[in-house]
């Protein structure tokens, strides 16, 4: 009877140890899966937000005012807006020619150090053509 109790105790100890070891590995697996899902969600959301911003810029005659209205803040050469876990960054520049101007914008969604999506936008505006 005494031996049987000891065997049961040893078995339980082994079971608990093995369970703890497995839990450690499984927690890592679940953590990684959660991280991946979060990143996927952020990326899907970032694509939609970046598209919205890019389309606004394409249709806008005054990009800087449009960005201000959309909640962007100016930082040196770019415009930024924090959306959830990621950051939307917009850079604007234009190329003028004799016949018109191409207004270029670049909308990037950044999560930490990683760029999730970068959308280039261009809009040609006819000039006087002289």
């Amino acid at each position: 009877m005494h031996n049987r109790s000891n065997a049961l105790l040893v078995e339980l100890l082994i079971v608990i140890m093995f369970f703890m070891l497995s839990s450690t590995i499984l927690l890592e697996v679940f953590g990684k899966a959660h991280g991946m899902s979060e990143k996927a969600e952020a990326m899907a959301d970032a694509v939609v937000e970046a598209q919205n911003t890019a389309d606004l810029l394409y249709l806008s005659d005054a990009p800087e005012e449009t960005l201000l209205e959309a909640g962007f803040a100016k930082e040196e050469d770019s415009w930024t807006r924090s959306v959830g876990t990621y950051l939307l960054e917009v850079t604007l520049h234009s190329e003028e020619s004799e016949t018109g101007t191409i207004y270029y914008s670049q909308v990037a969604a950044i999560l930490g150090d990683e760029t999730l999506v970068t959308l280039p936008v261009a809009r040609y505006e006819e000039g006087m053509g002289t």
Partner: protein
């Protein structure tokens, strides 16, 4: 008097429960990992496709600016609409790309090999303040593998 019930755990029972629990958790973990990975791949591909389409839009606008230069040059010496369109057709040939005039439409296609945008710019009448406007702007998938 209530009878005491003795629940005894035989040797090996806890091991069996452990195996069952660990296997179940492992299956759930693998499923979660696979779902997360697939979601991430899908989001990444979706982002790539959107980026590619926007890059094509940029190409189309840049082509439009080159066409507009031709329109300006053609308008300089043209006396009437017919002469203007003739000059435009000649000017477009000089661009050296697959850009052609069809009636009063300047047609061209921008492509990245996987998808293309079929564009047409309507040339305005000579002397109008606006020289051209988009008439057609259609996106097509060139290959069946639209995820590239």
């Amino acid at each position: 008097m209530r009878k005491k019930s003795n629940i005894s755990l035989g040797p090996g029972a806890s091991s069996l429960i452990l195996i069952f629990v660990v296997l179940s958790l492992m299956t759930l973990g693998m499923l979660s990992l696979m779902t997360g990975k697939n979601d991430l791949t899908l989001s990444g591909r979706s982002a790539d496709v959107v980026e590619a389409v926007y890059a094509l839009n940029v190409q189309a606008e840049e082509t439009r600016s080159r066409i507009d230069r031709v329109l300006v040059e053609s308008a300089k010496d043209a006396t009437d609409q017919e002469a203007y369109l003739e000059a435009v057709a000649l000017g477009l040939e000089d661009l050296g790309e697959e850009i052609y005039l069809e009636d009063d439409l300047v047609c061209f296609t921008v492509s990245d090999g996987y998808r293309e945008i079929d564009c047409a710019l309507k040339v305005a009448s000579l002397g109008d303040s606006r020289r051209a406007s988009w008439e057609r702007y259609n996106l097509y998938a060139v290959t069946e593998d639209v995820w590239n």
